[in-house]
Structure formats: structure tokens, C-alpha cells
């Protein structure tokens, strides 16, 4: 079996690095030299997609896609999101307003995949660069807004994209969420009543 996991998130949140850290194949990427304001953040940026593969036990594998972070390449989101079985949203804790970026991507997901039927795991990078802001702000924000994916509040973890074990743990959580969402689907009250 193969499952596609899509990494999304703003520029500089560590999507390409995360896939490079965990992939069992050489990552196919479409990074080019940044020529616009992105150059202030980093020298190269993804314009199409990253592709990596993580081999699991047996013949199972995770296909890892990385979406471009810039909104002007949002046509790639339309192509990549319908193929995904799980979403990883990467956020840069050191950015000016990470909660606004979280809201933006929640809206992007809601517009393209209504119903929040895919598991979502949120990986927060650069946590050490903004230590005065606790990681709990994301979960509190999600809970205040009542954001649920597959019936649960998305799990938020600190990740260093450069460290394979961090990315592995994030993907273990994703795979576990995918399994549980499939085996124990949340039945809405309306459906439950209709079944009686």
C-alpha cells in the first residue's frame, strides 16, 4: 500500500527540509533561486513540489509531497491536496504572526477539502528562536475556534526539520491518526440518530 502525505505551510517553515531529512530516496525538488521578497528569508524556494518516499514495513510506503509555500503557486495546492491521505502543516514559530498563518492555511484546506475529513498534524519549527511564546498557543487557538479534523483537534508538536527522528515521530503520529480515523470513524449525532 502507498499513502500520500502532503506537507503544507508558509515559506521558510521547513517543508523541503523535513522531506529531505526523512526520505529514503533522493528528494526530487523544484527549488529555484528566490528572486523576489522571499530572498530576504532564504536563497532558494520551492516553485512546484518536493517528492520523497519513506519505506515502511513490507511493501508499504509513504509518498511525501511538499507543496510550495507561496500563495502565487496555489494551483499546485489544487493538484496535490486531492491526492493526500493526510496533511502535515508546518509553521514557523519565529515568524511575525504564526497564528495568522495557521488561520490562513486552515482556510486554504477548508476551501479545497471541505469537511476536514483528512487527519492533520501540525509541526512547529524554529521553536528555539521564539522561546517566550509557548507552543500551547496553537492548541488553545484551535480549541477556541473549535477546529476538528477527522473528529479530533489536530495535534501540534515541535519539530526540528533537520533531525530525522523528529520528522519520523511526526509521521508516526500522522500514520496513527490515519489508521484510527479509518478504523474508528467519528459518527456524527445526526447519522447516529438516523441509524437507530
Amino acid at each position: 500500500m502507498e499513502w500520500t502525505i502532503l506537507f503544507m505551510g508558509p515559506v521558510g517553515s521547513g517543508k523541503t527540509q523535513a522531506i529531505q531529512s526523512i526520505s529514503d530516496i533522493e528528494v526530487l525538488n523544484t527549488d529555484v533561486a528566490a528572486t523576489d521578497e522571499i530572498r530576504q528569508v532564504k536563497s532558494r524556494t520551492t516553485v512546484s513540489m518536493d517528492v520523497g518516499v519513506l519505506n515502511l514495513s513490507g511493501n508499504d510506503k509513504l509518498r511525501l509531497y511538499g507543496a510550495p509555500g507561496q500563495d502565487r503557486f496555489d494551483f499546485m495546492w489544487d493538484i496535490l491536496m486531492p491526492q493526500a491521505k493526510g496533511l502535515v502543516l508546518m509553521l514557523n514559530h519565529a515568524s511575525a504572526d504564526p497564528l495568522a498563518e495557521l488561520d490562513h492555511y486552515l482556510q486554504v484546506i477548508r476551501q479545497r477539502l471541505p469537511g476536514n475529513r483528512l487527519p492533520l498534524v501540525i509541526g512547529v519549527t524554529h521553536v528555539d528562536q521564539n522561546p517566550e511564546i509557548p507552543l500551547s498557543i496553537y492548541t488553545q487557538h484551535l480549541q477556541q475556534k473549535g477546529v476538528l479534523f477527522c473528529g479530533v483537534t489536530p495535534h501540534v508538536i515541535a519539530v526540528d526539520s533537520r533531525i530525522r527522528n523528529h520528522v519520523r515521530y511526526l509521521l508516526l503520529i500522522m500514520v496513527a491518526q490515519m489508521e484510527m480515523a479509518k478504523r474508528f470513524p467519528v459518527v456524527s449525532a445526526k447519522v447516529a440518530v438516523a441509524a437507530l
Binding site: C150, G151, V152, T153, H155, I157, A158, N165, H166, R168, Y169, L172, I173, V175, A176, Q177, E179, M180, A181, F184, V186
Partner: protein, 84 residues
Amino acid sequence: MTKASSGEISKQVLHLASWPPLSQQWHDTAPHITRICALLARRPSVGMLIPVMLDIPPHIAHSLLEALHANGHIYPAAALPVRG
């Protein structure tokens, strides 16, 4: 949270309080830990049924539940009614 002795964990409905952080303590058992937490995040479950639901050897599941409980990541909410 309700305090429970080690033997009582398996008889009680367990809830997820928080996911454990990635650390050396959980490293080797991370695949089981993440599955247990993902289950409890969506469905509080009786301790003794968790190894059956997740197809984890009972002795491994039990020791992981003990460790998760000892570190405050799961908590028992209600004891199973005694029948007989």
C-alpha cells in the same frame, strides 16, 4: 484527574491528557505510543481492551499505559462496573 493504582489502569476508561513529547524514553516504543494516543484522542477506551483493539501484545500495552499514566499523559475517568 483520578489517581489509580497500577492494576486498576486496565479496568478503567482511559482518556488522553496530552501526547508525550519525543524523547529518548519513548523512542523505541514510539509506534505503539502514537497508536495508543491516537486511539485515546478520538475514543476514550478501557485499558484492558486497548491491546485487543490495537493488536499490541498485552504485556507491552500494559507497561506503556503504566508509563503514560505515570507521566500524566493519560488518566482514568471511571472504573468499570463490577459484574457477577
